[in-house]
Amino acid sequence: MEYSPEVERYFREPVNLGSAESLAPHQIQGEAGSVERGTWIIIQARVEAGQLEAVRFLAYGCPHTIAACCRTTEKLAGAPVGELLNFAPDWLTDELTIPVEKAGKLLILQDALRECFDGWQTGAREHNGNYVDR
């Protein structure tokens, strides 16, 4: 398996590493995958005024998965919450040089991000404006 220098750097010093409590309160969370599936990701974010103020992850996965989580959370920080839905695996694949056979793992990341967004939406509905201002 080949790893690009970017993957290696993120693996060694992961950024935006979270924890179950790290972003509470104002936290939304998405989870996808499992140990059995070989990849398991939790994405957590704090949303303020429709912006992703902080994005964190936890992961059980291969180096590419970990690097993808790092880079994605970096990129999402400060973006409108809707960006959680605009995850583009191709962009990551290019940026980090992720081999094609890892595509399935990026889909799990995508699912986690989507669940995160769904959680925000649900939360937004439930708490009506508590986290949102759109």
């Binding site: 790893y3 590493l17 990849t39 990701i41 992961a59 059980y60 291969c62 970990i66």
Partner: protein
């Protein structure tokens, strides 16, 4: 200490410098290059004498005679020649073979091939420690069984089978017994007489010898001949054609003789390093030992780690040259079938690391490996979505 620290001796060993010397002498000298099958001139005969001397060196390690040694290109070929050769030769007597689910692929894939050729194969499942009981072999032997093939020491987990016990069962049932001793030769006592072994596969590159040369022991008293895998010249009494590679054979002979001399000392030293390594990592959360805790090779320590993804684990161990369950069948990304057959989960099979030590491993290297391992596992556990996965993984 040079990095990466080499702890992959079960995959292949560094060449012993004394073996290299013997090979280089042969490669550079005029007495070494003749064709050892040519007896019409002196240069052929000189090469032949070296080949025959090495035959005796290899035979000596397993209590055989030179005439019972057939040179091959390695244990893979030896395994193939033993199984296909003996099964084809004996097919009139029966078409059933017995082996285990944790054999090397050179045996398992060959058995699959034989199944396609009309043979029946029983694959014995080991117990959860990786052992095959002689009585399980006995129970599997049918009236048309012609061959049992059980490896001596497993290449992934180092578990050592009761070869003498299984040999006795086979001899009593008058069934041929093949042993893949690629990992054990020179690390465990082998005695083809006492252990009732009819065919035995060995390879030089697991014992500080060169890659690309191996041997098959063929018990001439029990088995007059076998079918060759290849056809051509009359070398090796018609059982294995092709020009004999003198320098390779000289290297293998030297490696086996050195191993015979150093075995007791080497294995004691290597076993103590292995225990030191285990002591250095056993307290890491989620670590479990694979294979029987006692009946194991001095040189192999195979562990699995809960809550750690295999590829990331091996990537975290970049300063160690080790083999991982994640990379075992990297083409298919399928976790080790050996660990699976011990009942390990996919995750644990995938996150297994095989440390394999050797003659040139130092305690400094072992300590470094333990520290690297602890650090790599901690790092990954720190990212885990749920710490409970460490135990349940």
């Amino acid at each position: 200490m040079e990095l990466p620290v080499y702890l992959d001796n079960a995959s292949t060993t560094p060449l012993d410098p004394r073996v290299a010397d013997a090979m280089v002498r042969c490669l550079r000298s005029r007495d070494g290059f003749g064709n050892p099958s040519t007896d019409t001139h002196e240069l052929g005969r000189k090469a032949q004498a070296q080949v025959e001397a090495a035959r005796d060196q290899v035979a000596a390690l397993i209590n055989a005679t030179g005439g019972e040694i057939i040179w091959t290109s390695g244990a893979t070929e030896s395994d193939n020649l033993a199984l296909i050769g003996a099964a084809s030769y004996r097919r009139v007597r029966g078409r059933h073979l017995v082996t285990s689910a944790t054999e090397h692929k050179a045996v398992l894939s060959t058995c699959r091939h034989l199944e396609q050729q009309g043979f029946r194969v029983t694959y014995l499942e080991p117990d959860r420690n990786g052992l095959i009981a002689p009585k399980a072999v006995k129970a599997a032997i049918a009236s048309d069984t012609i061959l049992v093939s059980i490896m001596h020491a497993n290449n992934e987990i180092g578990v050592v089978q009761d070869v003498a016990g299984i040999g006795a069962v086979c001899r009593e049932a008058d069934v041929l017994f093949h042993v893949d001793a690629a990992q054990s030769a020179g690390r465990l006592p082998l005695d083809v007489q006492r252990q009732c072994i009819d065919l035995l596969s060995v390879t030089a590159h697991k014992l500080y010898g060169p890659k690309g040369i191996g041997a098959l022991f063929l018990n001439r008293q029990r088995l007059r001949r076998i079918e060759p895998l290849m056809h051509g010249g009359a070398q090796e009494r018609g059982l294995r054609p092709g020009t004999l590679p003198t320098h390779q054979i000289v290297g293998m002979g030297e490696a086996f003789e050195l191993a015979a001399r150093a075995m007791d000392q080497d294995t004691a030293r290597i076993a103590s390093l292995r225990d030191r390594l285990w002591d250095g990592i056993r307290t890491v959360p989620g670590v479990t030992l694979n294979g029987h805790p006692q009946r194991r090779l001095c040189s192999i320590l195979c562990v699995s780690v809960g809550g750690v993804e295999g590829e990331s684990l091996i990537f975290g161990l970049r300063d160690l040259a080790v083999t991982s369950g994640a990379a075992c069948n990297s083409a298919t990304d399928e976790p080790s079938y050996v660990l699976r057959s011990l009942g390990r989960s996919d995750q644990l099979a995938h996150s297994s690391i095989r440390f394999s030590l050797g003659r040139f491993t130092t305690s400094e290297e072992v300590d470094f490996a333990a520290a690297s391992f602890r650090q790599a596992v901690d790092h990954l556990h720190g990212m885990l979505p749920d710490r409970h996965a460490i135990a349940t993984g």
